[in-house]
């Protein structure tokens, strides 16, 4: 696949990187926990049929320190909406994973006309004390890859410093991504999204890694019950929380089929 086009948009005085690849109708993607320090195969599969547009959320790789001016959930939701608008995704199909999935759902709920069809991969935003989500921030560093992916090496490869770089900035950027997620979701991941799910009219596909060790599988049912539009739950075998990393083909094909 050719390299994606890269451009930036301005948000609250910070710039956010936007990747664009492929051709066909636009399809947006908001990345999951950790963000995207590099392009990944999942996006290549999407780009075979669609113009894939991948904007960086503030604080995540490509999003500078934009998280530092976002103090509450309203700030985050408004900024995400602006980001999608500036990236050219108004009214387009939208996919989001994990933390990005939660913000994609917020935009679909609050601005129903801005999202055509929605695909969410194990989104954050809910909390059930009977079945608490795993705390992704209270982990020993060596344990995290195995919690986020069925195959820990997928996460390690995503996060590995480019060869020969050897700069403190790379690890700082990865910590910043985790901080940005914490800024939105600390301490439980519960943004009371449950109240707004009935506002989502877009047909919504819920994808869940069969081996998700962060978000319990039952949360998919809560999303399905809450969303007003048509929903479907699809469990992805051999995938963990970031299912698009573990099973790029299966996840991308499911999204393409849902938005076709």
């Amino acid at each position: 696949m050719p390299e994606p086009d890269t451009f930036t948009v301005e948000l609250n005085g910070f710039s956010s990187r936007v990747w664009k690849a492929g051709s066909g109708p636009a399809l947006g993607f908001l990345a999951g926990f950790g963000g995207l320090p590099r392009w990944m195969p999942f996006l290549d599969v999407l780009a075979r049929e669609r113009t894939v547009i991948v904007p960086s959320l503030p604080g995540f790789p490509g999003g500078e320190r934009g998280h530092t001016v976002l103090d509450n959930h309203l700030d985050w939701v408004l900024t995400t909406h602006q980001l999608l608008h500036k990236a050219g995704l108004d009214g387009a199909d939208l996919a989001g994973s994990s933390v990005g999935g939660s913000l994609a759902a917020e935009v679909a709920a609050i601005w129903p006309l801005s999202v055509k069809r929605l695909a969410l991969i194990a989104p954050f935003g809910l909390f059930d004390e009977k079945e608490p989500a795993t705390d992704p921030w209270a982990q020993r560093a060596p344990d995290l890859p195995g919690l986020l992916c069925a195959d820990p090496q997928r996460w390690e490869a995503l996060k590995a410093e480019p060869e020969g770089q050897n700069s403190p900035e790379w690890p700082i950027e990865q910590t910043r991504a985790s901080e940005a997620a914490a800024r939105i979701f600390w301490p439980l991941g519960n943004t009371k999204l449950e109240k707004r799910l009935p506002l989502i009219e877009a047909p919504t596909l819920l994808l869940w890694g069969e081996q998700d060790r962060i978000m319990p599988r039952n949360y998919a049912d809560k999303f399905a019950q809450g969303v007003a539009g048509k929903t479907e739950i699809r469990v992805i075998p051999g995938a963990g929380h970031l299912a698009e990393l573990d099973q790029p083909d299966a996840v991308a094909q499911a999204i393409l089929a849902w938005t076709r």
Binding site: H67, T68, W137, A138, A141, S178, E179, A182, R183
Partner: protein, 427 residues
Amino acid sequence: MKLMWFHLMPYTELPDDFREKNPSVWVDIHSSLFDPRRAHHMYNDFMDELEFAAECGFDAICVNEHHNNGYGLMPSPNLIASALARRTTDTALCVLGNSLALYNPPTRVAEEFAMIDVISGGRLIAGFPVGTPMDTCFAYGQNPSMLRERYLEAHDLVVKAWTESETFAWNGRFNQQRYVNIWPRPVQKPRPPIWIPGGGSVETWRWCAQMDHVYCYLSYFGYKAGQTTMTGFWEEMKRLGKEPNPYQAGFLQTVGVAETREEAYKLYREPAEYFYGRCLHIDARFANPPGYTSEATLRSGVQGMVSRAAEAASAPPKYADKFTTLAREMDGIVDKGYVIIGSPDEVAAQLREVAKNLNVGHLMTLLQFGNMSKDVANYNTQLFAEKVMPQLKDVFAEWDDRWWPRPMARSERAALPSFQSAAIAAE
């Protein structure tokens, strides 16, 4: 120099196999290990020890704040300090301190500290730590990405609440209050001295220098490990053109004194091994929430004390070199300088060196540590006061301590009630 007496209030009956059977002394330590009937005696012993230290002539007695913590039984140091205010007369009360971002609204801290200052006749030192990740982000659920900014705003609000004579509105980023007007107001004018216990972040060095606050490094790892941090502070002070007044710094040092070094080794071995073995058994999961450590500090490579402890504690032996391994046995504890032990003369000579090397005019001694009994703690305290303290009082005599409480004159302060003296006399 000032010699201060610090209590952490550790739970003294953690089981022998605590480290093997429990993941952490902090955050998720199991409630079944806590016996309130035993803790009743611990609290009373600890407060006796603090009062005894005041009686022995220490310049200050110090308490601090921890949450969900098996080695620090003071979620509210203010409760202890207010009790101490009633049972001591001239000693400074150093509350080190209240983690400002945890109080909503932060004017609660302005009020409680003002109460302690008024009750004690102006003897309060007001400490404002950011607070450890365990206390703030995990036990109290504060967002690590906003903790420092909330803390800085709360500091400004508390200072203004102490010093502004008119009722005012606070229109902050994180706090909004229409009517700020605390009662009571502190005795000390314009306000009690502010001390900042820091973990070694570059911003805190700079901020203390700019605000003219005391910077304190509360190290469990003694003077050898503390050198980097204190050097960093003094270099920042120099860079900003501030004078190197040793009284703008504080340092915590664990000390065990006896007639001879051999006796000290025997006497303090068990409590030291209890402290470094069980009390500092901290799960690395809780040491470093993202955003807690600023990016500037990450770039500088300076590591906070608590995260150091946690990482050292959890490092697999094959990766752990001599520096990162936490010493848990007495030889290592002494070799690495975590605890200074010896005869009064030996201890005095070492502490004089420590004070001069670190340029620290406020030495906070930890003379009760781990599961040390009240008898041993009082022995350590008394021997230190009688034979070590006199050898150190002259250090830094040429400097003015601008950061020490300015209480009301003794003749103006309330006297201890006669029934209290009578009750004590009757014992």
